[in-house]
Symmetry: C2
Subunit: 363 residues, 2 copies
DNA sequence: CTGAAAGCGCTTACAG
DNA sequence: CTGAAAGCGCTTACAG
């Protein structure tokens, strides 16, 4: 018995190998694996048998080259320490896998320089790119669209009119938080801002300010928090160190709200919500942990992800599909970090939902 | 001026287009972009100019097909709600991108069925596969190795002798925790186990039990926690509902330790560490949050990731490179959830490090 | 240093 | 239903 010497990097089994063993043409093998209708049962069986014997799997790279579709979606993300993003990533991965797509993950480096990433995205012929980080420049989106790669913005919008995007209702969220806090009898408001250039921060802040203004309340004190723990901690020290400190703080993300809460408790010995109310945004898993029980505007991850997947598939299936911005409504989940208003709350399992008073302010 | 009608799905610019414009051969374009040494400056300039004009980028898919290397590393992960994994993913992504590799992300579905995933991994011709989930069957690893794809286990080992893996020192960690708790005068020990079939759980538990035994202490009460919040909560209720409850609980992950801590405080009104000490494993970001300040055995993410990257590159560069298991040492980071022993602690910034008494027990 | 040509492993008209 | 052949966009010996 002669032993076949394996070629250097272990030659993989190809459709031609299967064709040989099954005594059919290479095209036939291809048709069987593509579930092409015009294939006889006999041939199908022969091919599948041979394929099983050899351990054959179609080469997706070769297929991509000829079909001009990689079935790979590029996903650019940063801030994985904000639990919102891992939740999105997991949900997105499941949803795309269910449609036969894979995720090629790009993370922004510390410098935030997106250009090396851009080159990779373009090289790998991703079918679409989901941009899920606030800090990545819009430049990359333009370049991709120019190269014919649909771009979907996730949890951010763009100044480009008609760009495809999926966001929570940031403006309405900010506004509802204002209304809720005012209804709870708060007087001195503060806002811990996220990254200044991000659309999420801009809209949440605008909604909050508009909500306060519409109710005749003063505008909030504003301190930058950069969407990170440290930033929010510094911001909280600034706010609570003032002679007249705020009695309600809205932080633009749960991560920052928790940092604020912790700092208020440990460094200023404040009791929440007796001395201070704190509201976050996102309603991530940690917001439910007993030590926090954070009041937060919920961005529904599943709904946002399925909207994004729909948008991607639409644009992939019909090239003419209009790029449209989608806004997913959310709800203000009320827990224990806020003084509660006398009405407007609906009880659920272990939280309340704040009912937006209808039609009071235009969004 | 005639407007060129774009071909249907927007034909991408190829090296042939660039070659035409630059008046050189297609091979020349390829050589310039591959940084091939034998290219005249004149030609390089002509090619790069033409490429810039047309917005050309090499097609990585086509390159992969001919080079038999995709420069894509498959990463299979689950449990993204355990903060350890997002930390790993971010760090790994950076490290691989720095070496010109991209991550194709696979997440296990709820059923834990790894087989559809396996087909995808094999189809996409990943250069290597990093298996970073405890629950994915070893079967997938074998299939990949069989197909010539190097597999690196991350934060888990395999029964296959000599499989490539990177883990923290789970056994030593468990043992140190035992020694530390005994030195702190604890008497009744409990262990909240992770997924029963996982190597991390097995080794952490074995180390803990061995450490207790070596010091003549009774074995811990053992309850399953499944590595998730709910499981750990149920486990804690079981443990603390007993007539003689434990005075020290080691939970096999920080996520479970925090669930335990929260449950002990809120449902049993216990004060930690006065009534009960709690120790976790991983030392993820949330362990540092003021409400927890969790004592935890640190798995150094950066060191583990760079070991994994080294292992991957080794196996990719020389096919004969031996697959070897790597164990990265960790340290027991002592914070506020444990009663402290009179000696053996070294103070750092805002925590202490427990000094493993040298040579007392064989690992 | 440069070009013509073969070939990576598929899909898909085109004939039969 | 089935096969022969062209071609996706590159890399890389092989000649010159």
């Amino acid at each position: 018995m002669t032993v076949k010497r394996p070629d250097s990097p272990k030659r993989r089994v190809t459709s031609t190998d299967v064709a040989e063993l099954a005594n059919v043409s290479q095209s036939a093998v291809s048709r069987v694996f593509a579930h092409h209708p015009s294939v006889s049962d006999k041939m199908r069986r022969a091919v599948l048998d041979a394929a099983r014997t050899l351990g054959y799997r179609p080469n997706a790279i070769a297929r991509s080259l000829i079909t001009q579709r990689s079935r790979i979606i590029g996903v650019a993300m940063a801030y994985l320490d904000n639990q919102f993003y891992p939740e999105v990533l997991q949900s997105l991965s499941r949803a795309l896998q269910a449609h036969g797509y894979q995720i090629l993950l790009f993370t922004a480096d510390e410098t935030g320089a997106a250009d090396p990433m851009l080159e990779q995205v373009l090289s790998y012929q991703v079918d679409a790119l989901l941009l899920a980080s606030v800090s990545l420049s819009s430049h990359i989106a333009e370049e991709c669209e120019l190269a014919g790669i649909p771009v979907i913005l996730f949890n951010r919008t763009s100044s480009t009119p008609g760009a495809a995007s999926v966001t929570g209702d940031n403006f309405a969220g900010g506004r509802q938080i204002a209304e809720f806090l005012v209804a709870g009898g708060h007087q001195r408001f503060a806002y811990i801002a996220g990254a200044a250039e991000s659309s999420t921060n801009r809209d949440r802040e605008a909604g909050f300010c508009a909500g306060l203004a519409a109710l005749g309340m003063p505008q909030p004190m504003r301190v930058p928090g950069q969407y990170d723990w440290q930033g929010a901690q510094v911001a909280t020290r600034l706010l609570l160190g003032r002679p007249t400190r705020p009695d309600a703080i809205f932080a633009a993300s749960d991560l920052m709200a928790i940092a604020c809460l912790e700092t208020a408790r440990t460094e200023f010995s404040l009791s929440v919500p007796a001395d201070l109310s704190v509201v976050g945004f996102d309603d991530v898993g940690v917001a439910r942990w007993p030590s926090y029980r954070l009041t937060s505007f919920a961005q529904p991850v599943e709904a946002m992800v399925s909207a994004a997947v729909t948008l991607i598939l639409e644009r992939l299936e019909s090239l003419a599909a209009p790029a449209r911005p989608i806004v997913i409504p959310g709800r203000l989940i009320v827990r224990q970090t806020t003084r509660h208003p006398p009405h407007g709350l609906t009880a659920e399992a272990d939280y309340w939902v704040w009912q937006d008073p209808p039609g009071k302010i235009d969004g």
